[in-house]
Subunit: 311 residues, 2 copies
Amino acid sequence: MKVCIIGAGSVGLGLAAFLLNAGWDVCFITRKGKSDDLKNGFRVYGLFGDFEFSASEYCVSEDYASCEGCDYILITTKSYANREIAESLNRIKDKIENSKIVVAQNGWGNSEIFKEFFGKEKVYTARIITGFEREKPNLAKITVHADEMVIGNIFDKMLSFNVEDLVEALNNGGFEAKVSCEVDKHLWAKMLYNCALNPLGAIFGVEYGKLAESEHSKSIMNNVIDEIYDVMEACNYSTFWDTKESYKEIFYSKLIPITASHRSSMLQDIENGRKTEIESLNGVVVKLANEKNLSVPFNEFLYRSIKFLEK
Amino acid sequence: MKVCIIGAGSVGLGLAAFLLNAGWDVCFITRKGKSDDLKNGFRVYGLFGDFEFSASEYCVSEDYASCEGCDYILITTKSYANREIAESLNRIKDKIENSKIVVAQNGWGNSEIFKEFFGKEKVYTARIITGFEREKPNLAKITVHADEMVIGNIFDKMLSFNVEDLVEALNNGGFEAKVSCEVDKHLWAKMLYNCALNPLGAIFGVEYGKLAESEHSKSIMNNVIDEIYDVMEACNYSTFWDTKESYKEIFYSKLIPITASHRSSMLQDIENGRKTEIESLNGVVVKLANEKNLSVPFNEFLYRSIKFLEK
């Protein structure tokens, strides 16, 4: 079995390690000029063990044509790169006619871009809530692990079982994963958490725990959550908690306490002059709300603020 | 003529200088332990000249009883001190039965607190859009001057002319001032400007000019302005520009350009661990909106954010 991994960031390196452990062939597709980062091997260590690979054990390419004939194409880049990646893959469409695309990114609306080009049968979605950090271009650390990886098809649930071989390989390689027919619900659960905490943590420059200590930041987050529930309802999406209040209960009692010391990834992006993933998080909420003529001012305020701070 | 000035901040020192120039008696009422700040005289310099006064030329007291028999009581503290000041003055009510109170502060709703205790005939309101900075406890600098000071009665316009002697003294002392029957409109104009720029400048940590350079910060400010117009309309208040669009036109074409390098006072307050005046600015907008069952989410977001950052 052969997998191409688009993006050799921390998630890309991590998943590559487990699939290599399982005996799969791995080829990284990197941005132009970035393939040299992996010319001397790479290492993944942390929660699930310590794995090192020499350059002879995998391939690295800057050319999408290297995806030819692979079984899986894993999209592990930042989400803002998706349209460019989809267009690049589309140019070699006939070479990847038997490949399944698995989108393993933050936010909502990412798989939709690939579906536009390749149709719902070919595009799968993964949700990962494991913390991968890239300490060096070829060194990734797994720092936290909140739940197993889930993979499925959000456009046609019954197609989800088509990724059983990938799930099995990840498990064999040492990483917890399972097929799920409810990846959409998992993604919206992650959306709620991320949309409430990530941009606000960036704007205020504080760790997640601080945001739960003040009635004022809680009021903002509650409004963000309420608005997202309204959007989910209008768009016929759902998650595992039926009501806003039941989600908030778990949000404050469980989700924030276990990640209280986490620093917002958008804060780190802004501090380092990088683009954030705001478009796939609160940006999507605003876009879906506009389509349904809903007003989501708290999400819009966060979206606009991060766009301002990105400059 | 005798004036008591509550608060020996930059505005208090500035107005004292002009009234002393005009030959009025001036007594500062300071917070406990702060009267020593003025024991060796004070100086005001900048746009309107350079004036220095020795301690023998004025009085300083920490006791509100010193207001006895004065013609005017000028309130120049930060607005969050108002209720405590009104209560203190109320305890010597019989000693100040012929004194007029002039509230010279930022925001809306300040004079209302004094009206609760002293009635509309006694409470006057000033709007100042001159930049006073306190470089030392007894040294104030006048840095910018956007328009003359206006003073009047916002509860009963025709009473406005009762402050003609104060206006004349300020002019004689070297500061531009006039009686106005439209101080309420002036205050709302200043509210619009301040509510849109001051908290957002604090949250983003940028000068006012930067906020007009991005479509995203402009979108936030436009929403803030729209909401304030809705609140003004619901409460039967008005300002000099009849429509939201006509205000925004002047806001971007004139008001921001001339104050582009200004740093938000709330930003300075937060950086120095001080309380801000958010309650009298966006806080009042939220309060008035709640009374009228209006939704003002952008103002509320700003209000909540500043309350969070104050901690």
